[in-house]
Each structure stands twice: as C-alpha cells, then as structure tokens.
Symmetry: C2
C-alpha cells in the first residue's frame, strides 16, 4: 500500500511518501467488524500466517508465517471468522519503507538518515492502512513483545477504534537491563568498521560482525536458563566441518522472522569429542548454535533497522507523560484486554504484565490475565503451547464478537 | 617469583620458565600454619588488599585492593592473625606470565600462542608458589566466582594441603547460559578486525571494539535487574560532553580489578533532557555507564587474557570425570567448607552453590552455607555487605585455627 501524504513522527521529523507491506487472511465481513490487526516484534514481518507457494504450486520450505500456530482456519485466531491483517512496520526491512530504500529527498539510500520511529508512529501508520482498507474499528489488535507494546499503544492513541487488545509477553516499558542489552547490541553494530556511520550501502559492505554479535546476545535473552540447559547444557559440539554439513541452506527461515527455537542449530552429527583447548574454536554446542544463528541473521537483516527497532523498544513508555503513573496513563484506554505472560520469560517477565493488569484494574477496565507456566523464556510467545493457545482461543471465542 | 621448571598443563602443553606476581599481608607464623590463599576472578589481580603509596608517601587514589573490605587488620580475614597471599594467575595481564609477554621459544610476544590454561593449572602453579614460600598446608583457600572454582579445585587436587575452603558466589561448573555469554564476548573480540588472530601486538593495535562489547556484556550480567533499575532505571543521560567532564582519569581503578559498582559511571551533571531521537547517541544513563565501563576496560585489559580466562571458566567441571556426579567428584575433598551465595546473583545463583553443599553433605563433610539476601547480583561478592562480611568473619574467628 502506497501512502502519498507525509507521516508526522513523534521526533518532529516526518516520512514523505511511503509504502507498507501487508498481508490479509480471511474475509472482511459486510459491516467490517471482524478485523484483527497483528503487530510484529523486532525481526518479524507482515507474513504472520500461512505458507507461500512456488511457481509449481508447491509449498515453499520454511515459509510458514511467524505466528502460524496462532492464526489460521480453525486456529486460536480463526481466519474463518476474523479478517486478519499483518503489516510490516516502517523502518523494517521486509518490504515497508525503511533504511535500505531510496530517500525521495536525496535520491540516495536512506541508511542512517532514516528518521527514528516510535511505537506510536507505527500505530499511526497502521491506522492509515486501516483507513485505506475502510476499517474504522478493530475487533482486536494483538501482538507479542514489542508487538504487545503496539497493541497497548493502539488502545491509548485510538481508543475508539479498538474493541479488544491482546498483549502477550510484553511490558509497559523496558527496564534498565533490557535497555542495556539493546545498547550492547547497537554498539556491536555501530562500532563495526563496516558500519560506516550507517551508510555502509555506499561502500558495498555490510556490518555483519556487529549483526552477528547483536543476534547472539538477543538469542541468549530470548531463551530461559532452563531451556538452554535442557537443550544444550554442557554438551560438546561436533567439529565445525561436520556441523556445517548439517546446516540448512542460508537464510532458509528468512520469511518466518521472529526468534524461535524451531530454527535450530545443526544437529549433533558426530560423537562428542574431548576439549580442543582452544579459545577461538567451538567447544560447546551452545557456541555452535549461537554462531549459526548470528551468521544466518547477518545475511538477511538490515543493521539500521536493528538500531531503529531496538530504539523504539527503549523509548516506549506511556506512563512517562503522566509522571510515571501507569494507572493514569491507561485511563484513556477503553478496550477490553487479554494479557498473557510466561513464567520463565526474564526479558518481559510476568511482573511487567501484572503492572499493566493492575493499572487497567485501577481504571475498572475489563481485563483477563493468564500467566503460562512454560519453560521457553521470552521465545514462548512464538511457540506452540497448548495452554497458551487455549487461552487465546477461549478469549477470541467467548469475548470477541464480530 | 620466578619458576625455572616448566609447568605441565591439562591440555598436554606446558609453560616454560614463568613468573607469578604475588603480594602478601600479615606475618607467616613460626609453624607456617596461618596462610590464607586468595584466588581471583576474571579481571582482578594479586593486589587483593591494602593501598599503594606514591613516591612522596601519599596513598594513591583508587589503589585499594579488590577485596580490601574483606582482608586486612581487624577485617573478616584478619591480617593480624593470618598471612594472606594474593597471586595473579598465569595468563593474566597484571604481572604474571601471560599472552603479552615474550615466548622464550620464539623470542616474540606469545599473543594467541599462549597455551590454554585451566582452573586446575592455576591451582598447580599456586601450589608451586606455596612450595617456594615453604608453606605445606593452607589454613584456608578462598575466592569468589572463578576464584571460588579455584578454591574448590584446591580441595580436590591437594586435599592434604587445605584445611578450609571458602567458596563465594561460585558454581560447580558454568551452565549453558553462562558459556553463551562468554562466547558472545569472545566473538566480539576475535571478530574485531584489530584482533589479527590474537597477534595484534605485532600490528601496533588493540581490539578495543571487541573488548568494549565484552565488558559491557559482562557488566550487565554482574548486576541484578533490581539494582540496575534502582541505580539507573530509565533515567536519561546528560549530554556526552558533560558526562566526560565528570569522569575520573582513565584506568584509575586498574589496580582494583574486579567488576564493581564502586567504580561508578559519571554522575549526572546536567538536568535530564528530552529524547534526542537518535539510534547512535546516548539517551539513557545505563548506556552512558556501560560505554564508560567498556572504554575504560579496553584501555587496560589484554584481549588474549580475556579469552583465556573465560575459557578456564567454561572448562571447569570437576564432576565430568565422574559421569557428571558431583558427589562422587567431591569425595576427594577433606577440607571444611564455607559456601556463600547471593539471592540476586543470576550468573552464579544460590542453586548452584547449593549443589556443592549437597554434594559435600553426601560425603559427610563439614560445610557451612550462607545465602545472603543482597540486591547487587553477582557483584555482591566484591561489595561491603554487613551480613556477608559478618558470616566470613564468624567463620574465620570460630572455625579456622592457626
């Protein structure tokens, strides 16, 4: 979808003519009351559900949408009933206007000149997409992690246009530790000599070293201690040569987006060997897994997009305009809410979701809350878990009228 | 202390003639029964207590030893009673033989050719130092974090030479998450173009970018979520110019070693400003703090030492030779033990200390255990905390005879 009018941004800047990539699933009903907007997190896209077919009509390998377990015919968010919209955010690198594209003012690639966008800016851009689709009111807006922040922002910025908000594994703002992890990842990228101040495109290089480190840090924080111990523990890695043989093709899971245990490290193809006594070679399986994830990510993700999206996470803080009082901040919201958190998520812990629940209850809002006992850490919001999917299914079945 | 005989290493390699830097405090008694060996963690040194004087006899600023709150006259480890030895480990960069020094075989700087050393290798080297000092048996061996691993290894490798072991904020091995953090830090260093495969000394450069990232990651994991929120929260940083004015001199706390909240970020010298809406400038105080800590560390710490010491952490696992059974592994130990952990330490959690306690109890060993409710995370082992220092004081007063 192309938008001709400039979008004013929270920073005071604006984005001139821009495009948003989006996908839809299911059928918009006659009174346009069954639309569900899905907001994505750091490295996902508009491709939230379903698969892509190749020219011969065959399903493309690993082309499932990043929330395909959640959304589709007969699934918790049932596309036989709802008209679901996935949209790629401004500044991302999967089709919507972002740093890799041409700045109409200069006719050169935006790079580091792409304006800083916030969660609220994304919501404004999504609202324009709904305008263009003729949808006044969403049956629900839904997202996990940073996507949950967008869902929350929708209820504050456009309270009359949202009937339900489903906020999964999210938080009312990032705490210091989360900002810290984002900052280390950003510094790894910006201090990579191939970053060139964000204008690396001109030099024909990519700051892959930095992107690899950023992704490795991210992966550690998406997983729980428990699941890392269970999956990798102190197991030794096979030799690198053997491991490389076992890898899927580079970038194979590009379309999925989203951090996931489902995109696994190479399987163990050789018996554990004794230590190599090396500081630079891989010794442990967890090292092999992280290097592989880092390498893969650096092949497809844009470095400037990584900076922009982590900054949007840092900035989000609806309570800040109300002296830090979240209850005051959420008084604007009139939607009904479902909040979901996961017990082992230390990046967006249940305590942060409970802050939102409490602030909504302070305002006598209708709020359901489920704390799912799941071992997978923050990653759990992308994975199949019967209790988690069951809660969302129940909510949409029993509470979300169309 | 110079050692003429080669030291055989666990890897099968050996280190030819080598030096160990050490300091002592207090007086060795006539029957040499009051020696306490202090083992250091990642980035500390032999300078565990006391201060240095300059040429005019004045105390040098920030020259306190890294465990000065613990060790000294009248302190928990009382140097009026004990003869305390601090030793810098092989492979470190504070005086003992390490990667920055000349390889006698090649007459060039070791760099990446310095052999990989393990916790057990360090213990062997420390035992030789005790031999040279004429000390057969230690009243106690003591350390925190990686230093605690050395204390534990002492009780297994030289059970007849240790009467007490004090193991603080440590673990019987690293779990997958800890190995993962080490690996990301190592990759940041080894993929820095200035690393040159570890032979950067030849090129007249230092892999400072990688060291900065490594240190930033380390700092996040040394602190608890709670203390980061309390100390930094979402507070905005002053401008960089103002912040730099407030900085102490570069490398001022070099001698202290050890991660510590006591070496603080610049104080806030300007009123909080609104967002700059920038992905590359500092916005939040936590970013300023981490950048400062990273910059400072990169000025004084050797990159190859960082790799070696994190690898020693990864490798340590006394249970591995016993099919993973820690109780079997600790059957060799005959020392009495004090274990201490801190409730908010998520890098070396109380659960890991309890594993050691349980394995010692399985062997009917004499073990005391204190779990200190402290807010500071892993860093707590280096900080002044009345309950923590009180426990150690009581143990040394009531149990450690000389």
């Amino acid at each position: 979808m192309h938008f001709k009018d400039a979008l004013p941004l929270q920073s005071g800047a604006s984005i001139r003519a821009y495009d948003l990539s989006y996908e839809t699933y299911g059928v918009l009903n006659a009174d346009k009351s069954n639309a569900v907007l899905i907001c994505h997190a750091l490295n996902a896209s508009h491709h939230v559900a379903g698969v892509y077919l190749d020219e011969s009509g065959q399903v493309q390998a690993k082309s499932e949408g990043w929330w395909d377990s959640m959304i589709g015919p007969g699934k918790p968010v049932d596309t036989d009933r709802f008209f679901v919209i996935g949209v790629n955010n401004l500044g991302s690198c999967f089709g919507s206007t972002g740093p890799m594209q041409i700045n109409p003012d200069t006719q050169t690639v935006y790079g580091a000149d792409f304006p800083v966008v916030t969660v609220e800016d994304w919501v404004d851009a999504q609202a324009r997409l709904l305008d263009a689709l003729g949808i006044q009111t969403l049956a629900a807006v839904m997202g996990g992690s940073l996507g949950g922040m967008q869902a929350l922002a929708w209820t504050l910025r456009y309270p009359d246009r949202v009937r339900h908000a489903v906020v999964v594994a999210s938080a009312p703002n990032l705490n210091a530790e989360n900002i810290a992890f984002n900052e280390v990842a950003r510094r790894a990228i910006t201090t990579d000599p191939d970053f060139h101040g964000g204008h690396f495109y001109r030099y024909g290089v990519l700051p892959k070293r930095g992107l690899r480190i950023a992704r490795m840090i991210g992966h550690i924080t998406y997983l729980s201690d428990d699941v890392m111990n269970e999956k990798f523990g102190r197991q030794l890695a096979p030799t690198l040569v053997a491991a490389r043989t076992a890898l899927p093709p580079e970038g194979a899971d590009l379309a999925r987006g989203g951090p996931s245990l489902q995109s696994q490290a190479p399987t163990l193809v050789a018996a554990p060997s004794p230590f190599k006594y090396s500081t630079q070679d891989v010794e442990f399986q967890i090292e092999s897994y992280l290097r592989y994830q880092g390498d893969k990510f650096s092949e497809y993700f844009d470095a400037n997009t990584y900076l922009l999206i982590t900054r949007a996470l840092d900035y989000f803080d609806p309570a800040s305009a109300h002296g830090g009082n979240l209850s005051l901040a959420l008084a604007t919201a009139s939607a009904k809410f479902l909040l979901v958190s996961f017990t082992t998520d230390w990046r967006f812990s249940p305590a942060r979701s409970r802050e939102i629940v409490k602030a909504l209850l302070d305002n006598q809002r209708d709020v359901s809350y489920a704390e799912i006992d799941a071992p997978h850490g923050h990653d759990a919001f992308l994975l199949e878990d019967a209790r988690y999917l069951g809660v969302v299914r129940s909510y949409f079945n029993s509470k979300v009228a169309v």
